[in-house]
Symmetry: C2
Subunit: 315 residues, 2 copies
DNA sequence: CTGAAAGCGCTTACAG
DNA sequence: CTGAAAGCGCTTACAG
């Protein structure tokens, strides 16, 4: 009893006993049993993080940021990968909910999976990151998808290109759709054709670009909507012998480390990835502690154009 | 009571009652409380995974493999990043031990940290991955470091290079030291000079290579001992205007996705990264279930030379 | 300021 | 085959 009070810093423990308890704790190497503590309705001081793929550079940086922010607040994080499978994601949310964690930071596989409705209505708070849920309402943190697409198109138009193509994968994600939509609207307002190539997966980049570059719609510039897509485009263009930055310009959404190492270097829309992770964690911890407004919080963080060589600059 | 027996598949529950219990469970959405279960001394069905950095491609692939292998066995995994800080690592091991997890897969920051002795002597099993502990004994899984270094040197010598330099970072890691030692021994046996450049961090690659290439020891070929080091070398050579594959040959230990995208493509010693993760998880689960031999198990998995252009092949 | 009592939700013997 | 009892290690009122 007195030990419990001492550990939890309750008032009304005399200094003398507190000291004796501390000494005994040290001597015996006593550690409170978390399972027992949980059973009395305490917080677990842990949060869950579910991402589609830890090996994706975008998500590995996010994981790192979440982990650090959580640690600073005395929280530990359960990381799980959904492997882009909604069923796995559902199982993981279930498991975490019952494990238990106090809250979950989630990058959903699909914004419309039915199980998300259940999860969002559950008792523990959820904050989505990068991709917000469409069929339920939770706090969310994401980058300015539309502004990023606009910046990319504007920059390409500044180079004088008029035949600009958008190449996208993962079109089922709301973030990707927003980027594609913004791309189309911007070009439409500029009275230029807004053409797009939606790929079912990265493997179809090569056949897709082969026929695109063999057609009359051969583009002068490409806007690729995320890192996996950009990399697939680069590989396909290399295979086709089409020189990036000379034969065709390229800007990718998402910046990746090795874009400065390949030649030409790749111009990219850079997201504040660590900041996304930190913000989501902060928001979640606030919810866990019952702070924050009653309505959902939707945070959008700014992106930046990182000019390198693939767009035609610095040739 | 009967519910408990039904859930845990104990014998001596009549089919009729079992059915009724199942139905009630479904109807009420009942889920057993894990905290309570833990309190009676059950396994948590979770393992911990601690790596220096989740954003490192090597460790993110390992994380993925561990996660998948654990999931297949009905286990979930706590992932934590030690950020290359032994104190953080110590805190994470502590936290996991008491959380509790049934076992830990660990890639130690340093093979000689004193806290590892305590951890290895603890009650829950630990399996090290990529880097084995020197001051205590645990099961371990790693790649054939020496054989990999030998293959690299042998291949470079096959190209006729006689002035081969080893460039290394993270020399405090046993795996790196093994690679460097094997490099030296191989060249010594071939009666060739075995020179090396040990860098304190990747930032010192540029100054280090600048003076190396300005000296009389200017190498014809470089063997870089891990992916971070190889990338730093590539960047430094690019900055110096030294053409890889023409002015100097390069082989890196660890294969990385984008090595096929940069020009020249990078020849690498490829580790069976996913296999390392799966094997470590399998070993850990065996220990948790009290299987496996009494003595420590040390698994070494084979590596492979992936020939590309940077070594001088396919010029 | 300190301690005895009850209970969190399970499981493990022990009786029926 | 089924249930009542005790206990896992904590915390939250409730008495002193």
């Amino acid at each position: 009893m007195t030990v419990s009070r001492t550990i939890n810093g309750h008032p009304y423990v005399s200094d003398a006993t507190a000291k004796r308890v501390q000494a005994a704790i040290r001597k015996l190497g006593y550690r409170p049993n978390l399972a027992a503590r949980m059973l009395t309705g305490q917080l677990s001081k842990s949060i869950g993080l579910i991402v589609p793929n830890v090996a994706d550079p975008f998500f590995s940086v996010i994981s790192r940021a979440v982990q650090q922010a959580a640690r600073e607040a005395g929280y530990t994080v359960w990381l799980a990968a959904s492997d882009n499978d909604p069923a796995t994601e559902e199982a993981e949310i279930e498991q975490m909910t019952h494990h238990p964690v106090d809250g979950i930071v989630l990058a959903p596989v699909n914004c419309r999976s039915k199980h998300l409705k259940v999860a969002a209505a559950g008792s523990i708070p959820i904050v989505t990151i990068d991709r917000s849920i469409e069929i339920a309402s939770t706090d969310s943190v994401e980058a300015e998808n539309r502004a990023g697409a606009n910046m990319a198109v504007e920059h390409l138009m500044g180079h004088g290109y008029t035949k600009i193509h958008c190449v996208a994968t993962d079109f089922h994600l709301r973030s990707i759709r927003l980027r594609v939509e913004a791309f189309e609207e911007y070009l439409r307002r500029a009275k230029l054709p807004a053409r797009k190539l939606i790929l079912s997966d990265t493997a179809s980049a090569l056949p897709g670009l082969t026929s695109l570059f063999g057609s009359r719609q051969r583009p002068q510039a490409i806007f690729a909507t995320n890192n996996a897509c950009t990399i697939a485009v680069i590989e396909a263009l290399q295979t086709l012998g089409i020189r990036i930055g000379r034969d065709v310009a390229l800007i990718g959404f998402d910046d990746v480390n090795f874009y400065t190492i390949i030649r030409p270097t790749i111009t990219a829309i850079s997201q504040p990835v660590s900041e996304l992770g930190r913000t989501a964690t902060r928001l979640l911890l606030e919810r866990i502690h019952g702070q924050g407004p009653a309505e959902e919080v939707r945070v959008t963080l700014p992106v930046a154009l990182i000019t390198r060589a693939s767009c035609g600059c610095k040739r």
